[in-house]
Symmetry: C2
Subunit: 396 residues, 2 copies
Amino acid sequence: MSGSSTIYRSSTTAPVNIAVIKYWGKRDTALNLPTNSSLSVTLSQKSLRTHTTASCSESYSGPDSLILNGDKEDIQSSKRTQACLKHLRSLRQQLEAKDTSLPKLSKLTLRLVSANNFPTAAGLASSAAGFAALVRAIADLYELPQSPQELSLIARQGSGSACRSLMGGYVAWRAGTKEDGSDSLAEEVASVSHWPQMRALILVVSAEKKGVPSTAGMQTTVETSTLSPARFKDIVPKRMQDIEKAIQERDFETFARITMQDSNSFHAICLDSWPPIHYLNDVSRAAMNAVETANRKAGKLIAAYTFDAGPNAVIYYLEENAHKVAGVIKNILPWTSGWEGEFGEAIPPNEFGSLEQKTLMTLKAGVSRVICTAVGGGPEKVENHLIDEQGNAIRD
Amino acid sequence: MSGSSTIYRSSTTAPVNIAVIKYWGKRDTALNLPTNSSLSVTLSQKSLRTHTTASCSESYSGPDSLILNGDKEDIQSSKRTQACLKHLRSLRQQLEAKDTSLPKLSKLTLRLVSANNFPTAAGLASSAAGFAALVRAIADLYELPQSPQELSLIARQGSGSACRSLMGGYVAWRAGTKEDGSDSLAEEVASVSHWPQMRALILVVSAEKKGVPSTAGMQTTVETSTLSPARFKDIVPKRMQDIEKAIQERDFETFARITMQDSNSFHAICLDSWPPIHYLNDVSRAAMNAVETANRKAGKLIAAYTFDAGPNAVIYYLEENAHKVAGVIKNILPWTSGWEGEFGEAIPPNEFGSLEQKTLMTLKAGVSRVICTAVGGGPEKVENHLIDEQGNAIRD
């Protein structure tokens, strides 16, 4: 390594997002083109984020590399990562071709170092934040002029839902119709400031065993579920319209109902797949029951559950109802870790009188930690680098 | 009561049936007309049956009455029971009008006594066997000439699936298209003797709580599940054709696949209902897992699970595979009651090497009893009456 070469570095943090209209099914597996549009809430990076530094230098040799949470990843054989890197390099090359005074960064070896602030064992889909951070960090390193929406096309090729983590607030991923995927991208439906009161409580369920991986599961559903075509074609498009309107109007009841219905619809087509795919377990159902009880007690929908490809529950609610929703869970699980921090400490515990004993016991036995968070902003450029001035990885 | 009046009596036993293509959804709630055709296997009365005596006499006064498992039932306010009685009486009246020498039984008070040979707590749908026995016993009492198929129209009005318990073997309930329901009736697809090797192992799951009643649940699904129209309109009609062919050809693999897929499809539209309906729990999923393991080990489908509106698993298999299917369960649950009797004693226990520890533990903790049975015949007239010669109920 030549000590005199410049070490170019750029760092970013990127958020996790949790869909309220689910992405489940690809119409093109190579390009990660979905069978339907989807919509998510970007979650605060105070609770969950990926931090990534992208770096390049003439002093680096050999292939591009990625260190993720301290371990070297094999990115050479990852077609998805290679597709992102190739696309970003070609955009840099266009800049270099137009302005020959620019350093030829596109020719240099990339070193990437990435770290999550949450345990992988939490079973949270970290690939969305991971690919969003990777794309954002390299785009900044290359000083690309592309908008988050344009970059979302690239992140999508890394991991479908990653395209939604390039923006904050309420984000739609438009399925698009073009074969090359050039219209399959993310779009901000509403910013954080439009509806900042949205809160999310995540119940992390002690995972006994990893379920069917989502890429394989999606293909099984697309190929075998006879109920799924109606979901792809008619049901989701209608729900997208309705939930976008609900978000515009800050209509929580409609938002909640559609969120729960769409989660159930997604798990229904999983069960309808052959062989059937199960992500929900008795703990998940206890969480659904707790939400239903809170809603019944309030006489209106003040909480909404949603489940991704695993048993963890994500419960959305508005800040004003914190004690009626998250407060009940806090009272059931006071010693579970995760109540510390800005969003969790603000939750006043609440009695759980009307919850069934069985629901209580199942939640006590099955929830291993909670995460208290809220709607949040998109990726942020940071000066805290994970690669030092000599080009070596620093532990986060 | 006048001691000199004749006490007319007729008794029958009727079987339980377990659907492999599920009935879930009514297009007419008053007439019990279904949204789709369904198909079931009639189960042996050696294991599960309802025994009913119908009786009438000039010496009986007051309203018609029914004693079920020793308790007086309120049949006056049961529209469904009243519809059956009214229909049967009118058929008797037609006979009496044609042949005036016949006693006017249609004018007499009916006394009905009925008893199941299995505990109600087992959570098995006893209404099918119950209404089939009631209709058959009264039809015999009235010496009606109608065929089982014609009587199935009447039983259907009592409880939809009851129409399938008027015949043995493999029975289809044709949804029909007429508004008055006159073409919505049961039909024997194949007799017991066509494919007598069919066995069924029922795993009775310790029911913590009764789920959503099926009549209410069906209506919720019809009114709210956006996935259900495809099931009613296209998916089930195709499966009916395919499974009837499989039964004709004694093709167990196709029979098994369709049985499992249709059970999953039914529970999928339940989950897709609003509010969602859950019948499967972690014990049910452990049973599915045990079946999948047996099939994987055999390299072909030798077992098929199906679940009605509750967590109990019904596992179909052929006699020749008893040790590979039921034998594994017998080895897991040797002390669970229900292995005695003709069908259970014949099952050789088998090692369960490849089953996951978690599946084993969940089944051990969650299965309260087993029922070993097989495909069986339709209702049988018996001389063992539940009403004595003085017209009084006898305990079964």
